[in-house]
Amino acid sequence: MASEPAAHQDARQGRSAGQYLANHLRDYGMVLALIAIMAFFQVMTDGTLLRPVNITNLFLQNSYIIIMALGMLLVIVAGHIDLSVGSVVGFVGALAAVMMVNWDWSIYLTIPCCLMVGILIGAAQGYWIAYWRIPSFIVTLAGMLVFRGASLWLLAGQSVGPFPRQFQALSTGFIPDVLPFVKTMFGVERMNGFAVVTGLVIAGLIVWMGLRSRARNQAYGMVGEPMSFFILRNLLVSGAIVFVSYKLATFRGLPNVLITMGVLTIIYAFVTESTVLGRRIYALGGNEKAAKLSGIRTERLTFLTFVNMGMLAALAGLIFAARLNTATPKAGVSFELDVIAAVFIGGASMSGGVGKIVGAVVGAFIMGVMNNGMSIMGIGIDYQQVIKGLVLLAAVIFDVYNKNKQS
């Protein structure tokens, strides 16, 4: 096989930008789709979409979907599904309301208790799925009914609220401007200096980390993306971050939920891509039997993905309740469908083993921007549903088409 290393080299060097794009069409396609959709609505809404107040709203409206999409991605990658998250959102919101309003508990007691209840719910469902091998579809369908009923019972059919200010800040609060001198430096009247600086720092960090991992990959001879793509991608991403943070700065600064969501996204992206735990979840979803025979405790891992999902659903429930400032029996209805759709639009596979955190987040934003844009345009909820359904179908068809073409 003397000729093989030579052929190997050729394959690397001969890889043109076009071929690279063809192989990674899915990854770029989704981001491009998001940009295209945003551009479309920016024009159609006469610039309303990217106004500071609306960008802030976009984050507030979609934060709980994105937070749940992080957990749902793990569940779907592991080869399962969780239909109960919408009801868990409602139930935890109702529980928080009862604790704070009816029982006068402090939020420092309420929040940990609610998260713990989410973990227990996830554990209860995960137990049957992982150790008894009852299909997750059935267990969580049952959970969906149970927790919807339980929240109705908790609230006795009424809406409960309002909540203490501190609790509302979970969702509608903003990080105060701790760097007031920035705006005097720039001479801008209404600008949150902290938001701008944070945006710049994060953009810089992303470029720096990208360069570092690129250098490391090249040192080990791993095939990376062409330089042109690297520059373009980083310009786009860091540009978008700086742009968004500037826009937010001119309104009220960084929303608390944006920080929560951002930190969680980074943690989950890191866990899935770089840790033993993440790798094992992908192996479990890719081939459960092979994973098990490789020494991976598949039952425990499945169980843990549901525990995690329960915790994130509880967090989303708290944030959603805080945003509405009231708990209603209808809270969270059909959220599970938005979350699942976001994960699939983001490129996860129904059969497990495939999918990325970043994909799920972009998928959630695609849904979110469409919701928001269509609402601003005054398109009726009837058309909105139809269009969202078709987008989900198109994204998955695009996936399957791409896969067939490659093989």
């Binding site: 190997h8 770089s274 790798r279 992908y282 890719g286 020494g295």
Partner: protein, 506 residues
Amino acid sequence: MKPLLEMRSITKTFPGVKALNAVNLTVMEGEIHALVGENGAGKSTLMKVLSGVYPSGSYEGEIHYDGQLAAFSGIRESEAVGIIIIHQELALVPLLSIAENLFIGNERARNGVVDWHETFQRTEALLKKVGLSEAPGTLVDRIGVGKQQLVEIAKALSKDVRLLILDEPTSALSEKDSQALLDLLTELKAQGVTSIIISHKLNEVRSIADRVTVIRDGSTISTLDARGEALTEDQIIRDMVGRDMAQRFPARDSKPGDILMEVRDWNVWHPEHTERQVIRNACLNVRAGEVVGIAGLMGSGRTELAMSIFGRSYGRRISGEVFIGGAPADVSTVDRSIAAGLAYVTEDRKHLGLVLDDTIQRNITLANLPEVASMGVISEAREVRVAEGFRKAINIRTPGVFQKVGNLSGGNQQKVVLSKWLFADPKVLILDEPTRGIDVGAKYEIYGIINKLVADGKGVLMISSELPELLGMCDRIYVMNEGALVGELTAAEASQERIMSFIVRS
């Protein structure tokens, strides 16, 4: 005799690859024609061209069938003239009955209503023809693979087959079932059915085929006459691999050391039929630097024994003791077994051994991820170095370790599975059918890897259905029958006859 089928200079190109290059194949009426070649040589592609899976027009060259130019645009058209393929992976519906499976797509029906009387009657007649004594209403998943193969042949007969093509028909069968199948083919030949048989088992080819066509790298190398005694397996192998194979098993100095693994009084019950004992009082040992074989028929409990030892991956009510390096070992779960120094290379690499959608690199490290991670964070650079190391050391033929293993050939997939377990650095490797479904060249390489392992002081327990392989590789062979180890032979004592006599007499 006149030719039934002539394929003339068939060329089939896929984007970037010439899979077939001017291949010629002539099959005489009423003969059994063997088609042999290494994996990836183009045998299956040629058969897909013939059956119309690749429709006429998508390839160059001509097919003459029964004296006429044939241009099939789909599998239905080729079936209509009596060309039937039975694929390696059987196309039966497990939860339907034999009768229903026989007439799938060809239902005996009046106005869309199935005529069960006729269906069952015809099924009985067909089953008689193939020598299968099962009730037509039996569900297909209740009968073994050997019998399922017969059902496939009965299905072919129901379609008035003239040219029967079998792709690796005996690769999953025991010796006994294989023999029954080969006898049936001879009988069908007497009734005028022509067959093409694709096989890696050259002894079968020698015993049953009238002529042999060897394909290598998409070209016809030779067509040999297999009647009489003149043709030897070595001749066929030489044409298949394009070089002289001095021997089929690489030489090794056998220097067994101390006992590395010992299993005492191992008993296992069936996971579903709880009253059935699958393994009875098995006792065995493997020394350092020793290859120990387990021979036995399909269903004798070899895989069940291995899997129950390896983290209780099979069975219930398991009792017995395992000692590794003289000390009792905890093998109650797979991760503990790995930690104790065991590795199990499964016989079913696609379903149990590999994550097909993942890359080579990620498959190799799967059983020992902590080794390429610090504090739970994987270092991809370290991982690539490990995978590249194995790619070079055991010659995994691929442009890079970022390839999906699903795209590799069987032999290369097996090397990835082996790499995975070598990276876990076990003391004892249990290899379950390590060369099933892979070609002669790759087999030789795998034998080389096994020899190197034992030279490094590891112990190997090898399960195989191919007796020549066990005889060629092992220092010692246990014979298994109906869940019990019924005999033990040293390399010097062992022969096919002695192994079989243990099985028959136990």
